[in-house]
Amino acid sequence: MTAEATTRMVGRALKRREDPQLITGHGNFLDDVKLNGMTHAAVLRSPYAHARIRSINTSKAKALPGVVAVYVGTDMTDVNPLPCAWPAGGFKNNLNTPRAIAVDVVRFAGEAVAVVIAEDRYIARDALDLIDVDYEPLAVVVDPEKATHPGAPQLHENAPNNIVVEWNAGNRDSTNAAVANAQVVVKERIVNQRLMPTPMETRGSIASYESSTGEFTLWSSSQAPHVHRLLLTAFVFGIPETKLRVIAPNVGGGFGQKIFVYQDMVFCMWAARKLGRPVKFVEDRSENFKSSSHGRDHVTDVEICGTRDGRVTGLRIKTYAGLGAYLSTIAPGVATTLYGRIVTGVYKIPNVSIDVIATYTNTAMVDAYRGAGRPEASYLIERMMDRWAAELGMDPAEVRRINFIQPHEFPYNNGLGLLPYDSGNYAPALDKALATIGYADMRREQAELRKQGRYLGIGISSYVEICGVAPTAWANGQGWGAGLWESANVRIHLTGQVVVTTGSLPHGQGVETTFAQIVADELGVPYDNVLIEHSDTAGTPFGYGTYGSRSLAVGGTAMVKSVQKIKEKAKRLAAHLLEANPDDMVFADGKVHVKGSPDKSKTFGEIALYASVGASMPNGEEPFLDETTYYDPPNCTFPFGTHICIVEVTPETGAIELKRYVGVDDVGNIINPLIVHGQLHGGIAQGIAQALFEQAVYDDNGQLLSGTLMDYAVPTAAMLPNYEIDHTVTPSPVNPLGVKGAGEAGTIGSAQCVMNAIIDALSPFGVQHMQMPATPERVWKAMHAHK
């Protein structure tokens, strides 16, 4: 083996092998894919949020030269509506999912009413203007709480009061008693506003159909191609799963939005089969905003209670969660399990009750967006810990510290129906963050500046989250309709090259790099000899995809277990070649040697060659080194940390300057710090964006006012700070890598950090809470509300 192979790769800040293609313009994203004879689809979308379709006249559109076909909803009733794969909380026949194209009634502005297929995308767009639709507008409701009020417009006959599900966790009786008997109770109404995930690449589909075999191919900007294949075949089209191949090319960001099955996948496949030509559809940005998934949209009433010395004894929560006009693929589980079961955060709170009322509204579907339920939980508890501290006149850092779950209490059962938190040690992360920011000095500076009429705020957020959601049996108990294991195949080719195929689907996370780092170390082979393949159902074992910070903890573990099987076989084969006892073989530094006799050895390359040729295998051994693992973890992992930031509010204008941002994150062991830091930076940016800038706004008629990037304030470089990132390391006992997950931690830790800082800055004005985003107008109004 080369010298390079003996250099340990895990833990190194290796630059990514994914990048050369992407920085030279040679990436291959969905819209870059071109097929012979390909047609282009454009969608006519409802301008009404709720309306009956009286008639649709497509004759003029069909007559436009270059138009191949125009389809409406009733054309496609031979396939089923989209499935909902996570009907959490128990459903009573009120599960409503969308069809590819609306039939009779539209329930949100932007729902597809007709699809034009044309020779190019310009003609397809032109034809949309030639379709006449006669609508009968119906009454609209967009607010998740008002949707339940008597007399509210009803979206679905089978869902009285627009209720999707009423869900509860914790203990209502003990919590009611705790609140009733507490020395101190603090109440708040907290809105977690609707957001739009906004991957820079919008979504889309390209479908082709081979009539001689009945096989579809779907190119999709997807985080989960195997899941899409399963759901589209078995549930929507009613065809064998093997009749569809799904390929995800380079995926330009996902943040949850590309996990789900969408209407365009169905109408592209349907039309490709009908026309015998490939069909491409790529959303423009306003379509992405109108009709792809949104996130959050919670309205919550919360009470926190306890003793005057700062101990929290109870938490009572009632949340209205808007899920949109129909249920997206995993929406009910996000609003319930992924939110309600972690709502006590890093604290030991003996009495907790949470009710979630999930509702239908005349809006785009809401589903998992970066963090998926955990940011909502973390925001709620961390905002309330600050309210609690302020009510008692205590320091917010100290209130957190005295309520932390203690290191000796892990694995910790929070009593809300999760499996126990795997490992944790919360105070060191808090201490490190306090030290980095210079907490005591900052408090002194804050006091000094206030005397000069300058308003500095210090915000603290201590969070815990759930990654690599598993095991499958537990998830099934939560209503999850499939598995949550992950797969990996590892093969050693004749030349010693290692090929890993994974069911994960990286789209920016650097999995090709980190997975190769791990394999290089495990097998003692050069990093460059390890290839990671993914993203095509034709070439990879079934996997559930990349989301929920699960690729390394679950998919990476599957890979490590396959590598371990390869090593065991290599030892048996080396024992045969060396005429030694298999039990005496040691695998180290890319060689297998006899215990105590390092010179009596075979290199891994020699063993790979021997196994690949396979001319003289020992009894019972198959040729080739090729192992597959389907790994179902025994538990989730629970990353945690403390973020602290400093803001300054300009009193004249309400403008906020984010002066410093410190994150101390414990994501378990770190394979590649460069990549982990990148994940945390991006996650924090999205949390800051929620706190300061972003909100998906519907007016009372269900029109999306934030319908373009001119109106939806995705922050630019000039609107965000540098991030000061540090770590504590508490390995997860759940997996052999000791990793927890880093993809969502930044987002889960950050929104409340910024809001706590702003509200801290405004405390001289009597401000106790304000809703996100903290725009200058809202800040200024809050400052003047108590005068």
Binding site: R16, D19, E201, D284, T716
Partner: protein, 163 residues
């Protein structure tokens, strides 16, 4: 229809295009230069930035017909000799990209920025790239990447920050 003659990445093309054809579609559909991306429909995101006659422009709001006689550089033409441009190198070294969708536009915008401001402050970089959105990186490493490239283009010794 318009007949246009455009030099793209040093190669001259004469094409018939519809009057309404956008430069980004001309590059992507007619010339098959798909490194230039489309991320929005309102000129906010900058994924489509290319350099026309030395200036960075958003090709999603430029008509191809207006580029008659122009010289256009896209991400594919930034390093014709196979050597990475200092910006491409900087983005790689500093982890200035994750999904990579915004990266071509970001790099092309940064070439113009550094041409005008060879020794920028972090703040100048952040403001100079205000027309380009990235959803993955939070911009921290993009700023580092541009600083890396700026130093290299000034002829300073730069070493891999992650070695």
């Amino acid at each position: 229809m318009a007949k246009i003659t455009v030099t793209v990445n040093g190669k001259t093309h004469t094409s018939d295009v519809e009057d309404r054809t956008l430069l980004v579609h001309y590059l992507r559909e007619h010339l098959n230069l798909t490194g230039t991306h489309i991320g929005c429909d309102t000129s906010q995101c900058g994924a489509c930035v290319v350099v026309v006659n030395g200036k960075s422009v958003k090709s999603c709001t430029t008509l191809a017909a207006r580029c008659d006689g122009a010289s256009v550089t896209t991400i594919e033409g930034l390093s014709p000799d196979g050597q990475l441009h200092p910006l491409q190198e900087g983005f790689w070294e500093c982890h200035g990209l994750q999904c990579g969708f915004c990266t071509p536009g970001m790099i092309m915008a940064a070439t113009d920025l550094l041409a005008q401001t060879p020794n920028p402050t972090d703040d100048e970089i952040r403001h100079g790239l205000e027309g380009n959105l990235c959803r993955c990186t939070g911009y921290h490493n993009i700023v580092r990447a541009v600083q890396y490239a700026a130093a290299k283009m000034r002829g300073e010794q730069v070493s891999s920050p992650n070695a």
